[in-house]
């Protein structure tokens, strides 16, 4: 789905982005969430992802999960409000998917979205690119 270049990955255009470096891909009322290539690069090797429980209610821009590298812990914020519908269990054995395939097998959780209007507050891939380049 994404062609991995030597150093950079393109931010997929069919996704929306947050300023905290999460992406969300929406199909009907389910949004799949992960972190961007920029974020995984800054984190360096991911060693553990603390996944939320299925059914947990999440609020927009509040912590839904945490992700750990050897030397740091980062919060992953829910891009929109809703309920956790599914989590990526593969990450228990393969946390490195977040680094290697951040937009593909490195997805983290799926939200059943309560208010699709909240998506309008998120960034397009072009807008996100500007932010990522700026940092």
């Amino acid at each position: 789905m994404n062609i991995m270049e030597e150093n950079e990955m393109e931010n997929p255009k069919d996704m929306k982005y947050t300023k905290e470096h999460e992406w969300i891909k929406v199909e009907n009322d389910i949004g799949t969430v992960g972190i961007t290539d920029f974020a995984q690069d800054a984190l360096t090797d991911v060693v553990f992802v603390e996944l939320p429980k299925i059914g947990k209610k999440v609020e927009r821009f509040k912590t839904a999960a945490t992700i750990e590298s050897v030397k740091s812990v980062s919060d992953i914020f829910a891009p929109v409000s809703g309920e956790i519908a599914e989590v990526n269990q593969q990450l228990a054995e393969h946390p490195e998917f977040v680094n290697k395939e951040p937009y593909d097998n490195g997805w983290i959780f799926k939200i059943k979205i309560t208010d699709k209007n909240e998506l309008d507050n998120l960034m397009s891939s072009e807008e996100y690119e500007k932010i990522a380049k700026g940092e």
Partner: protein, 437 residues
């Protein structure tokens, strides 16, 4: 003696490099009125000869007796090897192994300690040590609260009173409710437990053998904990008991390994331990040593899962512990390597001797057992006047036990007597003779 190598001439050269005339010029960034103008009102500098004389005189004021005291601090045999190893300055003058390439000795030894604790407790993961058993128990209470999200801890009065005070102090700072339950015939009152445990209980704490030396029915207690989805935290204060007893099917096992190669030392330092089931690993406080490989593929050890700890998680950490009791954990590791399977025989010596003492004492006039429960190497004897007994024995250089009135008003004139492998039959017979009088 101040251990400062530089001579006045060298200091002058250094001051020149820095560009000031006097060392005190380097303190000019501190408000002048804060700089002390008078010497401190403490004693004068002393030579090594005089320091030794002075402090040896203080040590002499401590009277060494034959004592039958346990109560959380046990007099056990320490193989000579232990002190030789922990006196090696490559170990004791080293810091926490943050540069693992030059600290493989410390890291491997701690890995061995973690392994020993898992073997003895039946748990999946053990950490590199805690300050002592009491703080390990308090941290276990915090962990249970964090894991279950519940606010109540059940803490029987059969747990060491000082351990209970510590758990209560810690919990009072964190809005966790400690509910004490009573004892019956020296062990946890099951009826009381049944009445107090509810859906808001995060954990049931139980010490085994308990403070009275009695052996608890852990499986029975576990049933009630499981019913209410509370965690079971087992606490082992007399580590030698692990030679014959297992902590049961607990979720968290904590305790103290002072009995494994650490002298009494007036109660400290000791060394706490904590071991947990695999699923609780990431919520465990303290340092963890893990196995890994270096760039050549060679096996090595390193501090790992540090994202649990305060230097990374900061205010989100579940504990603030850094320095623990690693050198004492090394002592325990050496001790266990020396005892090996003979720990079982050692435990048996304790068991046999304490029961011999018990049998002899219970037939004396004016003395009777307080409880009929099974016990390990400590037991409680009711007497007419324990204060009198204690002071009489002192004249014969013996301390017969601990008067429980100190901790339990209802147990005044009850003595907690501990017998270990360090007491010969002769010692016990002498104690009994003196009690007869």
């Amino acid at each position: 003696m101040d251990y400062i190598p530089n001579t006045e001439a060298e200091k002058k050269e250094m001051l020149q490099e820095v560009g000031v005339n006097d060392t005190l010029d380097l303190f000019k960034d501190i408000d002048e009125k804060l700089i002390l103008k008078e010497p401190l009102k403490i004693s004068n500098r002393l030579s090594e000869i005089d320091v030794r004389k002075k402090i040896e005189a203080i040590a002499q004021k401590n009277k060494l007796m034959k004592n039958f005291l346990g109560a959380g601090c046990y007099n056990h045999f320490i193989p000579s090897v232990v002190n030789h190893i922990i006196s090696r300055s490559e170990f004791y003058t080293a810091y926490t192994p943050y540069q693992p390439e030059i600290s493989q000795g410390a890291l491997q030894s701690i890995f061995e300690f973690q392994t020993y604790i898992c073997k003895l407790t039946g748990m999946d993961v053990a950490n590199a040590s805690m300050y002592d058993g009491s703080t390990a128990l308090a941290e276990a209470a915090f962990m249970a609260h964090s894991i279950t999200g519940k606010n109540k801890i059940i803490i029987p009065k059969t747990i060491h009173p000082e351990y209970r005070k510590v758990v209560e102090t810690y919990c009072s700072m964190h809005n966790i409710d400690c509910v004490e339950i009573n004892y019956n015939n020296g062990t946890v009152d099951i009826e009381n437990l049944k009445n107090e445990i509810d859906d808001n209980t995060a954990a049931v704490l139980v010490q085994n053998p308990n403070f009275f030396g009695c052996i608890e029915d852990i499986d029975e207690i576990e049933k009630f904990a499981r019913e209410k989805k509370a965690l079971l935290v087992a606490c082992v204060v007399e580590a030698v008991s692990l030679g014959v007893l297992e902590p049961g099917n607990a979720d968290i096992v904590v305790g103290d390994i002072q009995s494994f190669g650490i002298p009494l030392s007036f109660g400290g330092p000791a060394s706490g331990f904590m071991a947990v089931k695999k699923e609780h690993m990431r919520k465990m406080p303290g340092r963890l040593v893990g196995q890994t490989a270096d760039t050549d593929g060679k096996k090595g050890f390193i501090l790992t899962l540090q994202t649990r700890e305060q230097h990374i998680r900061r205010e989100k950490a579940t504990s603030n512990i850094c320095t623990n009791s690693a050198l004492m954990a090394l002592a325990a590791t050496v001790y266990l390597s020396m005892l090996g399977k003979q720990l079982k025989n050692l435990a048996n010596l304790n068991l046999q001797k304490s029961h011999y003492a018990y049998e002899k004492i219970k037939h004396l006039d004016g003395f009777e057992p307080a409880f009929s429960s099974l016990f390990f190497n400590e037991f409680v004897i009711k007497c007419n006047d324990s204060e009198k007994s204690i002071s009489k024995m002192q004249e014969n250089n013996i301390v017969p036990g601990l008067d429980l009135g100190k901790y339990y008003p209802e147990l005044k004139n009850h003595l907690l007597i501990c017998v270990t492998e360090m007491h010969s039959k002769g010692d016990i017979d002498t104690l009994v003779e003196l009690m007869k009088e």
